[in-house]
Chain length 440, copies 2
């Protein structure tokens, strides 16, 4: 993309309302604009990152065997009356009445809708196991939205729902999502720790939150330091095989959120392994049995001819919130440092003199070659001052920068900068392109 044809409204000053670094940087980098408390427009740079995160989440859901659907944002109130949650959900639910006085709501989650889909079509144990997921906008009418995408009202969530005939199957489904989540966060450059968690309004007994450690985290968390370095399964992991050794490895170490914390168990750890920190929740998984299938009549015929309510679980990842979490985990004073997997562009090409024919020719050459190599470069071809260009490029945090000016070209070199380390090298244009495009 040529910057002259793009829409990247960089702000020089951090807006006052932004209290945490990810919120400040997302506003300054022109990633989003608040339209209403906790409701954002995604500007081009922010949307690109959002879509990259969404793609990683989708790939790992697909790999685990979950099947994608898309449920509507507006749901009928009657379904929530069937489950008993309509009155119980409280003011976080955005309630709506249509022109015919029908009661509806903007879905904060979708257990009811997916259970309705299931009971409409599925009749037999033969059709199980089944895991249906969707990546859809949700709305929770937070009393005090803040921290940008970390606690917004309209937010993008991946929510999956598993259906099994028995507890053993339900546990396998839970393990699949557990491992899919570990892989997802790893690919996003995050170290997420599964912690036993309270189940809240979703219900059920077995639940884990996936937590990133960050000083701006919303809650206190406690865990065994060993958890920070455990290996995450590779992409060859067999989701049809036994995943319990992986799950056991993570769950046998102490890790708990505030609500579930057991001080005595934590104190039993050697002192150097006790991590007491703040955490950001980036996922939450639940196994809740027949909480929805029983009242909503979602049953399957069993081999012996009997009918039985299906055993369910639900599994959420806050896709838009992950952008904030990644920035909290990866930034410096100059701006964002994107992991390669979600960087909005693979590299930046900075022209120091757009009015110089040799510089422009070299920039166009780099732009064409990086594009052809699939690196999707952002080419700053504008007339802005070099200092402003450097600051903007550091702020938006692309992994590489190739800086091209007349002096260097006269010596046969360009500057190659690695954003994460700040390392700069003077190399030939060909070498710079080769470095940026080489496989990791």
């Amino acid at each position: 993309m040529r910057l002259s044809r793009y829409f990247l409204p960089i702000l020089k000053e951090a807006p006052k309302e932004a209290e945490i670094v990810s919120h400040r940087l997302m506003l300054r980098a022109g990633m989003m604009r608040q339209q209403n408390a906790g409701i954002y427009s995604w500007l081009p740079l922010g949307l690109k990152v959002l879509k990259k995160i969404e793609a990683v989440v989708r790939e790992e859901q697909d790999r685990s065997g979950a099947v994608e659907i898309l449920m509507p944002s507006i749901q009928p109130a009657d379904l929530w009356r069937e489950s008993g949650r309509y009155d119980a959900y409280g003011k976080e639910m955005l309630r709506i009445v249509d022109r015919h006085e029908r009661e509806m709501l903007y879905g904060p989650t979708a257990e009811e809708v997916v259970t309705d889909i299931f009971r409409t079509y599925v009749r037999s144990y033969r059709d199980l196991p089944l895991n249906l997921y969707n990546i859809q906008w949700k709305f929770r009418d937070e009393v005090r939205p803040r921290f940008g995408v970390m606690r917004g009202r309209e937010f993008l969530m991946k929510d999956a729902y598993s259906f099994d005939v028995d507890q053993a199957g339900a546990l396998r489904a839970y393990h699949k999502m557990f491992v899919a989540y570990l892989r997802t966060y790893k690919r996003l450059g995050l170290t997420a720790i599964p912690m036993r968690a309270d189940t809240g309004p979703i219900g059920g007994k077995l639940s884990h939150e996936f937590i990133i450690l960050a000083s701006t985290g919303e809650s206190a968390v406690f865990c065994d330091k060993d958890l920070l370095d455990l290996p995450v399964p590779g992409e060859d992991v067999d989701f049809e095989g036994d995943l319990s050794p992986v799950v056991d490895m993570f769950t046998s170490r102490y890790a708990a959120t505030d609500e579930m914390h057991d001080e005595a168990a934590f104190a039993a750890l050697p002192e150097e392994r006790r991590v007491s920190a703040r955490g950001i929740e980036v996922g939450h998984i639940f196994s809740f049995g027949t909480k929805y299938s029983e009242p909503m009549g979602a049953k399957v015929a069993m081999p012996d001819g009997s009918e039985q309510p299906v055993i369910m679980g639900s599994y959420g990842i806050g896709v838009s919130r992950l952008i904030g979490a990644i920035i909290e985990a990866s930034h410096d004073d100059a701006g964002i440092i994107w992991p390669e997997s979600v960087a909005p562009f693979g590299a930046g090409v900075i022209s120091l003199r757009p009015d110089d024919a040799a510089v422009t020719a070299a920039c166009e050459d780099a732009y064409a070659k990086l594009s052809a190599a699939g690196k999707d470069p952002l080419y700053d071809d504008t007339a802005a001052r070099p200092g402003a260009k450097f600051a903007s490029m550091d702020l938006i945090g692309l992994p590489w920068q190739i800086i091209i000016g007349p002096k260097g070209l006269a010596d046969g070199v360009v500057e190659l900068k690695r954003r994460a380390t700040g390392d700069k090298e003077l190399v030939s244009l060909e070498s710079a392109i080769a470095r940026v495009t080489e496989k990791a």
Copy 2:
């Protein structure tokens, strides 16, 4: 995808509520489920098609130079008060009040929000031209939703918004979208005719609807038969060049919707060129000048230092509605016939005897080779009867079917079926795979 691990709930009977063929076929093929009047869950097959259409729309918007953003579904009422449309819009607007009694709405379109984004960041004529688009769910509270996705309440729309300093620039922006739309429909296998149209609540003077001819269309349309065969620009079209010859070629022939129809002009055509038919609107473009920028104060500094309201246009494609339009245009008694560009899977592999080792080996071979070639096959590995498998595969309308059974294998052949023509051939498995994977 192996059908045994997929979720494809085929219905034997068309539900009564479905009045038109696309609605019937989408329900029978397990593409979607109605959750509420005019509000649907997208089941896996339907979602795959929706995403393919969305991808084509996105590619052509990008090619034309438009830049993607994403505006929220929930918009503040105050912005609509600024433009004067909040009270004028009527009951089709879904109005919402949040927990703090703030008035909001589910966006039926986004002129106000995008104008707000523009005025926040853009100050100078130097930043123009600019075209921002988004592909986002919209809600229109239709008094009588029907015809499935053709007149739903929650629907997916691509809406683009252009910003220019003068009328000449605005016309270039209009021409770019005009040509991008022609290319989009062509790639979707549709013949869409641009027709002069009424501007309705969006406002402005210059407007075209893009119309598909179909007997189930919602309105009467009139056009010159020549329009059905005009050439559409290829992907090498220069969007920075002069597009007016293309636009003139289409707009110089008679074509009008009911509201704009001029019987005298139509009657002047030779009788054999007069097409009087029903049409389905699949897109609508508007040039409306300063209708929003003036009241909302979206101005740019001009070269002479003066400030001037920006000239705008908006451009919509009903992405979810297009699925219905494509099915209306491409089906037979047995079911849907997808154009290759949007087929949910590239080919079907049908095992006639999943309990036969040789058949299974051949099916697995076909499945692996088609997958490796990027054809994303659907492999019916279930225990259903052959007749049911044939009917389902015809119903869901994949371009190719490879049917593998023990008798054929004994003779060294499989059956290759082309869904569009119904042509069947007995060929070797290798030939069948070669035919399916060869470039069109």
